[in-house]
Symmetry: C2
Subunit: 197 residues, 2 copies
């Protein structure tokens, strides 16, 4: 049986953003969308091949209103096994999680422990692994390598009062500031160049 | 609003296989499941970090039967942007598409042109890129690098009579045979070692 796929278009991209910003997923969707467009720019200019992974969905029930069409009528969001983004840059494997916060400090509870573990493992294998955080209120974006991030995370497990990271802390840990632009919107690979190469 | 995620379990993995083998997606699901378990084995033994990407789904309508629960009630399968699998192995980026066929020859129509293009681009950037094909009738699995695969694909566009690849052709193009085992079920990284390292 042949399945008719829907064609993703730019229109739909924005539609997805609308759906998600509906309070449904995390509130990082607009930032995510900017990252997606930046990655599209990188791909077109053959600078890197990096994609956001689809959100995993557990499909329970599918209807066939037509022979060639499958309509999912019951499904649930699943916890992602890994991080949001991965791909290849300058011959190396690259893997990261993108987060945004409306607070002055990014809370560790917004990142899954198994996602941190995944990034630690990627780093051990010789890949580039980091977290990119957008502090909306400060209008600042930082890229922080998984090693100092993980260290801070472990410290946090010991000390209950330490449950989040401020932008200034990221700076003192060697995190790199990412500036906004137009082509691409978020040129985070410049920060990757300065930190990893 | 907090979303309650469903917990993926081994049980569910098999359930997914059942759903898919329902004629819904391609018929490669059992082979895919064997690859998934092999990748799990590789991860546990810290040999490689390779995951299957979730099937992309366009979500149209979501209900909230409870405050903390999101139930997707209308969604459609989307064409995947890239390939099924990617990750890191021996410090390198690895990317591949897995296919299986019940015929003696694997038809090119079962692989999307943009997936071939993606693999060609990964190869150009210095990554490991290949197609792994299971010929069910022959009980044979082959790994073929994207370069000879792409060449054959281009030849096929010129010559209408040439629309598929036989196992013997893969062998003559330098494709590597992958043997079945128990730990892991499909030790395709052995074939990767012999071809790429």
């Amino acid at each position: 049986m042949k399945i008719k796929y829907s064609n993703p278009s730019l229109n739909q991209k924005f539609q997805q953003v609308k759906i998600h910003s509906n309070g449904l997923m995390n509130r990082g969707m607009l930032f995510e969308n900017e990252l997606n467009l930046s990655n599209e720019y990188y791909r077109i200019h053959q600078k890197a091949i990096i994609y956001k992974k689809p959100t995993p969905v557990q499909i329970v029930k599918v209807d066939y209103p037509k022979r060639s069409m499958a309509r999912i009528v019951e499904a649930y969001y699943q916890t992602p096994s890994t991080t949001d983004y991965n791909g290849i840059y300058r011959g190396k494997y690259i893997d990261y999680e993108a987060k945004e916060t409306d607070n002055l400090s990014f809370s560790f509870k917004h990142i899954f422990p198994h996602q941190i573990e995944h990034l630690v493992n990627v780093d051990k294998m010789g890949g580039i692994a980091f977290v990119i955080i957008y502090y909306r209120k400060l209008e600042k974006i930082y890229l922080i390598d998984i090693k100092p991030f993980y260290q801070l995370y472990l410290d946090n497990l010991k000390d209950d009062s330490k449950k989040s990271i401020k932008a200034t802390e990221i700076e003192s840990l060697g995190g790199v500031s990412v500036s906004r632009g137009y082509t691409p919107l978020i040129d985070y690979l410049k920060a990757v160049d300065s930190y990893y190469f």
